[in-house]
């Protein structure tokens, strides 16, 4: 906990150390850049080094800065050496090429004039120049190839032909210092006469960023210069090589040391940041920190403190002491790798309040189950299960764990969730009897077409004139009993199968929804009992349950009753449950709608009255009880208004005070349940909102569960469309061509199945299952206003 809120961030005790760590990190970043620039990969360090002590930190800093300095110097040297080398080389080339234009008729054996290279033929035949009486001067240099034509034009215009310019490409490309890429430079040689023209030419070449080199007049001096250049270049190359070698050595040193240093400095910085949150006691001799600690781990903490004192060789031991506080503690729920995924989806809605009942253990099963109701298909479920199984079996492989793709990481974190979702989908797929939208006949179908055909004498001629006929369950032998596991396979061949399926799925959704919500209300019992609020058991739980069961439990009863009692024999007169339910609320009756059982009307009236009676109990019960309890004489409870005095640690303290900081100083965390100030109005308002939310919520949430029906219908229809319009086309052709066509057809089917049915429908069903859990289930009992315990830990350094 932050004990120094008054002191600004810059004045805290350890800010110097933190700053030092940050400087070191900057140095490290520079080193890393250099290493990366030279193309080396830093090796990640194998074990995590311990955080260094303060004097070691100084040494680390010195070392790293020294290395950085060395690196900088060496790089700088190398860059300048390279620049010089380049200049020398360019000069050499200029001289060499220039020879070709100014030399006297070429001696035998030398290469012929490279007319192919030059852009221009010299206007003036070089052999003529000795006849002219004016002295010819030369300007020689190197120019960027893109600027050549502009240069020429400008020269010609400026000097009006009083010069001879020749351009030749350099035989080898050289590095351009500005961009670092290799360019073939163009060497130019300008012969002119007259001083002023010379000045103009030089100015123009300056403008064009050419490198101009002095061009010696006579042949001999040229040869001298060239040999001098050669030796210089050689020397320089040797020096450059040695520089590069030294640079490589320095880089090696850096590569070896850098990762360890980084981790060490990071740990140091984290420790100092935490130390900044502690306060000094009055004598400035020791640090005090206030922490949250789970009760079970208290002995471990004491042990660790003892070890720490021993290892750092201090004379005084560290110790830990419990202090009372009025803040609400953070929530810690211990999870393993399997349960962590499910806990995180509960926490995403809201972390459980301290010591509240945790819905996650139930969500481990109910969440994949509700997903599976919307996704039910054996084939798709199997694919999903196998995918998750692969992820689970290879969960320790580093290539899976350290992928950088965020979407993949999300799937990987939820691998156990997907595993269970796939497994339940296989089960519900069997019950829905859907495998890639086809039904499987595990048991023989309960409907006998033969019996119907014989009874109604369906001859072939009769069938030819009637494109569709219905089996009548009233006829003996047609319907032989319920299919033992799931939906009868004949329904997938029927044209009216949606009629049956809709009725089934709608009732199923309602029943499961009411059971789920009822379970949520029952979980509230745990909360009431744990927090010693038994009055809430009678005043809240009881009316809630009565309301839910009297209305919606009765609906479930009606559904089951109708399934059992009414058959095809009286199908004409079968009552509609929905109309009965509506009439129940409106206290009317419909003569066309026969009652389901004798005495239905009075029973329903009693239930509605009971439900309506439970509403005011829910609304007023708890507030009245609480206010009654407060009004009864309290045994002199003095309000614990804290006085802002400092009190030492060992004597009794007021709740909420901390050692050596006044109450105003300490940041106020949670609320102080000061009972004096609780308004009757506030409790009443809170309870009223809760009542309205609950009662209206019962109705709307029951309807909300119908999304189970909607999504499972959508999934079934999509997969049927995919089958009949894509895959079946591959089977329609009966020739050998059809066999070949089947391959791309299957490819299309597979891609669409994975993309649309698995990914899209899977995400959709996941989202809706999540919503059902978060809203419809959890608002029956969950508060979720807690905050998580964030213990100090060295996070593993992931190498970028």
């Amino acid at each position: 906990r932050q004990l120094n809120p008054k002191v600004s961030a810059f004045q805290r005790r350890f800010v110097g150390e933190v700053r030092r760590c940050e400087e070191m990190e900057k140095t490290f970043a520079f080193l890393q850049q250099e290493v990366r620039g030279a193309g080396r990969v830093p090796v990640p360090c194998a074990e995590s080094p311990r955080a260094p002590l303060a004097r070691e930190a100084l040494r680390l800093q010195e070392q790293s800065e020294q290395l950085a300095q060395e690196l900088r110097e060496v790089s700088h040297n190398r860059a300048s050496l390279r620049g010089r080398l380049r200049h020398l080389r360019q000069y050499l080339h200029v001289l060499r090429e220039g020879q070709r234009f100014t030399s006297l008729p070429a001696p035998l054996g030398s290469p012929p004039r490279p007319r192919a290279f030059s852009d221009h033929e010299p206007i003036l035949d070089p052999s003529l120049h000795q006849h002219l009486d004016r002295k010819i001067n030369f300007v020689a240099g190197v120019i960027h190839p893109w600027r050549v034509s502009a240069f020429e034009r400008l020269l010609w215009r400026a000097c009006r032909g009083y010069l001879v310019a020749s351009f030749v490409e350099m035989p080898e490309p050289m590095e351009d210092p500005a961009t670092g890429e290799d360019i073939t430079w163009v060497i130019f040689l300008i012969s002119y006469w007259g001083e002023q023209i010379g000045q103009k030419i030089r100015k123009i070449s300056d403008c064009f960023h050419c490198h101009v080199y002095p061009y010696p007049e006579s042949e001999a001096s040229r040869a001298d210069t060239m040999s001098g250049l050669h030796s210089q270049i050689q020397d320089l190359s040797v020096v450059l090589e040695e520089t590069e070698q030294y640079l490589a050595q320095v880089l090696d040193k850096v590569v070896m040391a850098l990762p360890t240093w980084r981790v060490q400095v990071q740990k140091m910085k984290a420790i100092y940041l935490i130390l900044n949150q502690c306060s000094f006691d009055v004598t400035e001799k020791c640090l005090i920190a206030e922490v949250w600690c789970p009760v079970r781990d208290l002995t471990q903490v004491q042990e660790a403190l003892r070890q720490g004192s021993y290892k750092s060789g201090s004379s005084v031991e560290c110790f830990v002491q419990r202090i009372p506080t009025s803040e609400s503690p953070p929530t810690l729920i211990r999870t393993n790798k399997f349960t962590a995924g499910f806990q995180s989806i509960v926490d995403a809605y809201g972390v459980a309040s301290y010591q509240e009942v945790n819905p996650a253990p139930y969500a481990i099963i109910t969440f994949p189950f509700i997903f599976a109701i919307m996704f039910g298909d054996v084939g798709h479920g199997l694919l999903m299960f196998l995918f998750a199984l692969w992820m689970v079996l290879y969960e320790n492989s580093p290539s899976l764990r350290q992928a950088s793709n965020e979407i993949w990481l999300t799937f990987f974190e939820g691998r156990y969730l997907i595993l269970l979702m796939g497994a339940f989908s296989i089960y519900t797929g069997f019950i829905y009897n859907e495998c890639f939208s086809k039904a499987t006949v595990i048991f023989p179908s309960a409907w006998s077409v033969a019996a119907m055909a014989n009874h109604s004498s369906w001859s072939s001629a009769y069938l030819a004139t009637h494109p569709s006929l219905t089996l009548d369950p009233n006829v003996t032998g047609v319907f032989q009993g319920p299919y033992p596991f799931g939906i009868d396979p004949i329904w997938s061949l029927a044209t009216n199968h949606l009629n049956f399926l809709n009725s089934f799925k709608m009732k199923m959704s309602v029943v499961l929804g009411i059971v789920h919500m009822g379970f949520g209300v029952v979980l509230g019992i745990f909360n009431h009992v744990h927090f010693r609020q038994r009055h809430r058991l009678v005043l809240e739980f009881l009316p809630e349950v009565v309301f839910l069961l009297a209305l919606f439990g009765y609906l479930v009863f009606l559904i089951f009753y109708k399934w059992i009692k009414f058959s095809a024999a009286d199908s004409r007169l079968a009552p509609s449950i929905l109309i009965h339910f509506i009439d129940m609320f409106l206290f009317t009756s419909n003569t066309d709608n026969l009652p389901l059982y004798r005495g239905q009307v009075p029973v329903q009236m009693v239930l509605v009255v009971l439900a309506l009676a439970s509403v005011p109990v829910l609304l007023l019960g708890t507030p009245l009880y609480l206010s009654c309890r407060r009004r009864s004489p309290r045994p002199g409870r003095s309000a614990p208004v804290a006085d802002g005095e400092q009190e030492p640690l060992l004597e009794g303290q007021e709740a909420g005070n901390s050692v050596n900081a006044t109450k105003e100083d300490v940041e106020s965390g949670g609320h102080s349940p000061d009972a004096e100030h609780l308004d009757f109005a506030e409790i009443f308002m809170h309870q009223a909102i809760h009542t309205i939310e609950y009662c209206l919520g019962c109705v709307s949430n029951t309807a909300s569960y119908l999304r189970l029906w909607a999504l499972s219908l959508a999934h079934a229809q999509l997969s049927e469309v995919l089958w009949s319009m894509v895959m079946r086309q591959g089977f329609v052709r009966l020739s050998y061509v059809g066999g070949v066509v089947l391959v791309p057809v299957f490819a299309a089917f597979a891609v669409l199945t994975v993309a649309i049915l698995l990914v899209m429908e899977g995400l959709s069903a996941f989202l809706h299952a999540l919503r059902l859990h978060w809203v419809e289930f959890q608002n029956k009992f969950y508060v979720g206003a807690g905050y998580k315990l964030c213990p100090f830990a060295f996070a593993p350094d992931v190498c970028e």
Binding site: Y362, I364, S468, L469, D472, P484
Partner: protein
């Protein structure tokens, strides 16, 4: 046509099966830190799956109408299915 046992055989089989999963297996789970979670999972799973199966079979117990089949399907099923 196979004589169905109606509702009795399936309901006995399934009740026993999920009853074992939800009522007997929790006693056999070895003691460890995860025992509570595993037991919760077993019971919840048994209840959910049993309920789901029960709804499916009860919905088909007394059908109010029969399947409507195309004549091609009738031609085929008349002789292929018992």
């Amino acid at each position: 046509a196979m004589a169905y046992g109606g509702l009795t055989v399936p309901i006995i089989v399934m009740s026993v099966f999920w009853g074992i999963v939800g009522g007997v297996l929790p006693w056999l789970v070895p003691k460890g830190p995860n025992r509570g979670v595993i037991n919760t999972m077993l019971v919840t799973c048994a209840v959910c799956c049993y309920l789901f199966w029960l709804i499916a079979i009860l919905a088909q117990l007394n059908p109010l109408f029969g399947p409507q089949l195309s004549n091609e399907t009738i031609w085929y099923l008349r002789y292929d299915w018992p």
